[in-house]
């Protein structure tokens, strides 16, 4: 999202170089514009599903998200490359699992395009009753067995996706400054909404009544559905690794900015649901699923007439930028996967005039458009897309957690400027390794949400695994055709790569630490005192 992304989007012939000066504040707002925007889409969906228990749904998903965030912080500061979850899984678990994580995240990026374009159009529709006397979000037609196709909302969504394709092919990017301004405006508006809402309009009795009623009447599976949807309000953590790639001294900067980001997003997401249910009945959010934050802002006494439209404008812009992140993320991921020999190089084709990865932009944006089109055939497009989104995110995060634990054993030499808290020291092959207890808890937490998704998401449990199976079939066929190990790993010199990454990040202190650790290992191995950890790395002479 920063201006530096242009370099990646305009794929050069030689090795891609992304390192730029993203400041601490820039890194924070980058993440906040990405992750913090999710609440604009998720608030209505989660309250509609979990009703009065929505704060508990957000809190449960949020606890898991905090652990996922801390895992990403550790991995992104250790391996500051833009590949994100797919790269960490590849290093930790090998090629095939790296591909599966990449496929799951790729699915999410395409749904990201569809979901946030639909949500952005939903906020645009906030104004149509005032401008045209009709709520465009509620105009529907019947077409054969599909009785309520919200046709104008669908056309708006398609127009937004077409616009995204156009600006991405031409290589137009929002600048880092714009990103910082939008992130800061969003942060201030959300703070004001919560503060003014709690002080001027919040009724604890209304919150308690809705909570008590939900405890007594809400079926468990509805709560599980709500809490698994709540994970949508926290996705976008891949932006931490993208920021890591584009930040100088990421080992120093990333842990601080991402920890602040994780806790701010968590408290604002839970806070929004608590203030929302203390101001309005849950049915109001369920009826206005397209623009929940604007409805909340509109209900604030004295300031609502101004805050409502302002929140709607900001929501429309920030969700459009999030949809754009989906296009960019898919391009980056597909590029990273092809560089790592996980998929075809056909996707790397650049536009002769604009030097942008035209094939990935068109292919994945059109997939997003198809998903949006199909979702409008169901009773609630947003709910259907959210339903599918959760599968890819939880599968990808589960693999990242397993990789985090594995990498502590497989690659104990890479310096970790930040480690997830809660470690137990254990001895293995003559080395003391910090075993991450929170990593295990995180794996269990995110696996439980994946279980909830499979149990309660009628569309996601079919479409998600089907996507992974189709991609995996392609992967196996493609690897065999290209004479690469089908189930095994391609040999890679991870150590040389890590040295290059730390050098380009200007983390010279960590570089020395890394080289020292490798030298000590080599000395021990030569003396026959210890076995090196099993990796698929080639150990060159240094």
């Amino acid at each position: 999202m920063a201006d530096a992304a242009v370099v990646m989007e305009k794929i050069p012939d030689k090795k891609a170089e992304l390192r730029r000066d993203v400041s601490i504040w820039g890194s924070y707002t980058w993440g906040y514009a990405d992750v913090g925007a999710d609440i604009y889409a998720a608030l209505g969906l989660v309250i509609a599903a979990a009703q009065g228990l929505a704060p508990a749904a957000f809190a449960f998903a949020g606890m898991v998200y905090i652990m996922i965030g801390l895992a990403y912080t550790e991995l992104a500061s250790t391996y500051p490359v833009a590949g994100g979850g797919q790269y960490f899984t590849l290093r930790g678990l090998g090629d095939i699992w790296g591909f599966i994580a990449g496929a799951a995240l790729l699915l999410d990026y395409t749904i990201d395009i569809a979901l946030f374009a639909v949500a952005s159009a939903g906020y645009i529709n906030f104004f149509t009753p005032y401008l045209f006397g009709v709520d465009f979000g509620k105009v529907s037609i019947a077409l054969g067995p599909f009785e309520q196709i919200k046709i104008i909302w669908l056309i708006e969504t398609m127009a937004l996706i077409a616009f995204l394709i156009w600006i991405n092919i031409r290589g137009v990017r929002e600048s880092s400054l714009l990103n910082e301004v939008l992130g800061a405006t969003h942060l201030i508006l959300e703070s004001l909404l919560i503060f003014l809402g709690f002080i001027l309009a919040w009724d604890p009795q209304l919150l308690l009544d809705q909570w008590t009623q939900a405890v007594q009447t809400l079926p468990v599976d509805r709560f599980m559905y709500g809490s698994s949807l709540a994970i949508i309000s926290f996705v976008g953590l891949e932006s931490i690794s993208q920021a890591a790639q584009e930040t100088r001294r990421p080992a120093t900067v990333i842990p601080r900015t991402s920890i602040a980001l994780i806790f701010t997003v968590f408290i604002f997401a839970v806070g929004s649901s608590v203030v929302g249910l203390g101001m309005l009945p849950w049915q109001r959010f369920a009826e206005n699923i397209g623009d929940p934050v604007a409805q909340l802002a509109k209900a604030i006494p004295l300031f609502g007439f101004l805050a409502g439209p302002f929140a709607a404008i900001l929501g429309a812009i920030i969700l459009f930028i999030s949809a754009n992140t989906g296009v960019m993320g898919a391009s980056r991921l597909a590029f990273s996967m092809s560089q790592l020999q996980l998929t075809t190089r056909w996707l790397d084709k650049v536009h002769p005039r604009f030097h942008t990865p035209v094939r990935t932009i068109v292919v994945f944006s059109l997939m997003g458009a198809c998903e949006a089109l199909l979702s409008f055939l169901t009773p609630s497009a947003l709910d259907t897309l959210g339903n599918m989104y959760a599968f890819g995110a939880t599968l990808g995060y589960t693999l990242v957690f397993i990789s985090l634990i594995t990498l502590r054993f497989k690659d104990p030499y890479s310096p970790r400027p930040y480690k997830m808290p809660g470690n137990i020291k254990i001895k293995r092959n003559g080395r003391v390794v910090d075993f991450p207890v929170f990593g295990v808890l995180g794996t269990l937490g995110v696996s439980f949400i994946l279980f909830e998704v499979i149990l309660t998401h009628e569309i996601g449990r079919i479409a998600g695994p089907a996507w992974v199976i189709v991609c995996l079939t392609f992967y196996l066929f493609w690897r065999r055709r290209n004479h690469l190990p089908v189930l095994g790993n391609t040999s890679r010199d991870w150590e040389r790569q890590q040295i290059e990454v730390l050098t380009s990040a200007e983390e010279y202190e960590l570089l020395e630490e890394y080289k020292d650790a490798l030298a000590r290992r080599d000395k021990k191995v030569n003396n026959g005192n210890a076995k090196p950890p099993t990796t698929n790395a080639v150990h060159p002479r240094r």
Binding site: S191, W211, T252, I267, G271, K419
Partner: protein
Amino acid sequence: MGTRNLPPPMQFTLGDKYRLWLGAAAIVLGVVILWRTVPVAISPPAILIGLAFIGFGVHRLWLGYTRLKQWKSKK
């Protein structure tokens, strides 16, 4: 959860002032939520969010104060 120390700030920025303001406001908000909730009933989400805001505010204030102190001593 150790993190590497950041170098002392070169200047006390708008972001630092926002951090201090947000911290103070979050503490006030947490207290207001608790003060308005407790007379009505012990509502778990309200109590927890009130305490969370106070904790969040203390953390932001502490961070802002540390940076302010570092900046002053450098100056």
